[in-house]
């Protein structure tokens, strides 16, 4: 299998705290790999180890075919990084920032000029290329960071919360660009809090919690593994006693939700038939009935906090 990122038992400790605990996963070439987890789960520490910023205490990691510990410079030569915190040089212009990064990657000057011009145009920054970054909005800074990460035409892009705190338009633009560059063959390693973003963009997702990987799969498979989290939301014309529902073996749990009842079940067809029969028998009218599939957020919360927390 052609792998862009291969991680085996990666561990990082800070004193008594194990920030990343024997983490293992793989990212295939050409995929967008989502890295999800709550604050302090170990996402940024993992990215910092993969990008050669900090050394792991244990385990191995290979990026673009190179050992991160043994060949950090070769790894860095083949990756582009958008860190969690905006860190372009605010006392330099957009052009100077790109030129600096290009030189640090050893991009030949003619190629650097071409790449920088085309990226600045593509990300709508060409008009302001000679302005100091200090005067840029957050969205502009984030676009510039993506330009800086792409100026060396990397094989693998590491993006740490790239759309965090951005307005809707800027976030959408960045997502479009991420998809575009992925279609052109770049592997994207995306750390995000945004479930919808992960759902939209990622081919596969790893969920990390307390420094350990809780699950790695496609968004669809993750949802399918949590079918017990699907539910039917039904509203009757009168308030009903849900006690009777719990006697039905197909119903896992009922939870009142305003004037509706949320019924958790792994077998929605049987429960819908039961509800129709129940309404007829009790002379009730069904005002609304929706089958809700578990969202990625439900799956995430289930893995992080456990099933009961979601149902409650």
């Amino acid at each position: 299998m052609d792998l862009a990122v291969e991680v085996r038992g990666l561990t990082k400790r800070y004193g008594d705290i194990t920030a990343v605990d024997r983490v293992s996963f793989e990212t295939k070439r050409g995929e967008i790999f989502g890295f999800l987890g709550p604050n302090g789960a170990g996402k940024t520490t993992t990215i910092r180890m993969l990008t050669g910023l900090i050394k792991p205490d244990d385990g191995k990691a290979f990026v673009a075919g190179y050992d991160v510990l043994k060949n950090p410079v070769e790894v860095k030569q083949r990756i582009g990084v958008v860190p969690e915190v905006s860190n372009a040089y605010v006392d330099l212009t957009a052009w100077e920032n790109l030129a600096l990064i290009g030189k640090l990657y050893g991009v030949p000057s003619q190629k650097l000029r071409e790449n920088a011009t085309s990226l600045l145009k593509e990300f709508g920054l060409h008009q302001v290329k000679d302005k100091l970054v200090r005067a840029f909005s957050k969205g502009m800074k984030q676009r510039l960071l993506l330009c800086m990460a792409l100026v060396n035409d990397p094989e693998v892009l590491f993006l740490d919360e790239p759309t965090s705190g951005l307005d809707v338009e800027s976030a959408r633009l960045l997502r479009e660009k991420i998809t575009r560059y992925n279609k052109e063959g770049k592997t994207v390693f995306l750390s995000t809090h945004n479930m919808e973003e992960a759902n939209q963009l990622c081919h596969r997702i790893a969920i990390i919690n307390h420094g350990q990987i809780a699950a790695v799969d496609t968004p669809e498979n993750l949802r399918a593994q949590s079918m017990e989290l699907q539910y039917i939301e039904v509203a009757f014309n009168k308030i009903v006693n849900t006690q009777e529902f719990s006697e039905n073996p197909s119903i896992a749990k009922t939870v009142p939700a305003g004037n509706k009842v949320r019924i958790y079940t792994a077998d929605p067809a049987t429960v819908i038939a039961f509800l129709a029969e129940y309404a007829k028998k009790n002379d009730l009218r069904i005002l609304s009935l929706n089958t809700m599939m578990p969202s990625l957020e439900d799956v995430f919360l289930k893995l992080i906090r456990g099933k009961e927390a979601i149902v409650q």
Partner: protein, 250 residues
């Protein structure tokens, strides 16, 4: 070998960036230009000695303070603005960044040291060997620049003012014991011993030798001592920064 050349090229890119950003920063102008100027005035005005006698100390002080004015602030500044992390994400070794920082400090010192040198020529004071003086200026600037980057390594602070202040605590005693104010040959034996641990001693001694043909050490020893200090400071700066890097990034 080609990898080494490539890393050195990247050091120049880092130095170019430092020149654009840090030369115009307040503390650099204050410690690198204003401060040496006032110190020089205080040193010259009211002293009943010839300008030729005063010049070696004046040049040495200016070179020392200007060449050490940029280095202590760069790493703390970059730690604070998270740009150090940006640099380290690029395919550069830590020593590449340190060499870039040393280069930018060195160039600042070298350019500013042209001022007292030009002043001597305008006043008609000729050095005995101009080429040796230029060579000495170059190696002294490099030595003091390496020292300045070493001074930014510990403590691993992200506050430039803290680093500047702590570096001043080292820089001032080094100047006072260096023979800038009293030539080394006029010091008692214990004074000479103390002066020998200060790098500006060898540069002051060299400049005295090259202007008034008076000095305590042989010229070769002055050069060798400065080269040895440069190597030791650069090596220590890289090692200490390596050691404190994790703390800076946390």
């Amino acid at each position: 070998m080609s990898n080494l050349t490539e890393q050195f090229k990247r050091s120049f890119a880092i130095a170019e960036k430092n020149i654009k950003i840090y030369y115009s920063k307040g503390p650099v102008i204050l410690f690198g230009l204003v401060f040496p100027l006032f110190l020089a005035l205080a040193y010259v005005v009211g002293r009943n000695v010839s300008l030729k006698e005063v010049l070696p100390g004046l040049i040495s002080m200016t070179v020392f303070f200007t060449a050490t004015s940029v280095g202590p602030s760069i790493v703390p500044w970059e730690t604070r603005s998270k740009t150090l992390e940006r640099l380290l994400c690029c395919p550069v070794a830590l020593w590449t960044i340190m060499v870039g920082d040393i280069l930018s400090s060195f160039l600042f010192g070298l350019v500013i040291s042209v001022i007292p040198l030009a002043l001597t020529l305008v006043l008609g004071i000729q050095p005995l060997n101009f080429i040796m003086l230029l060579l000495g200026l170059t190696i002294a600037n490099l030595c003091f620049a390496a020292l300045s980057v070493l001074l930014s390594a510990y403590p691993p602070t992200d506050i430039p003012a803290t680093s500047m202040m702590l570096s001043s605590l080292v820089k001032f005693p080094l100047v006072f014991i260096s023979g800038v104010f009293i030539p080394v040959e006029q010091l008692p034996q214990w004074g000479t011993a103390i002066a020998s641990i200060s790098p500006p001693t060898y540069f002051t001694d060299m400049v005295r030798r090259l202007f008034i043909d008076a000095g305590f050490y042989p010229l070769t020893l002055d050069f060798l001592a400065l080269i040895a200090f440069t190597a030791a400071f650069a090596f220590a700066a890289i090692k200490l920064h390596e050691k404190t890097l994790a703390k800076r990034l946390s």
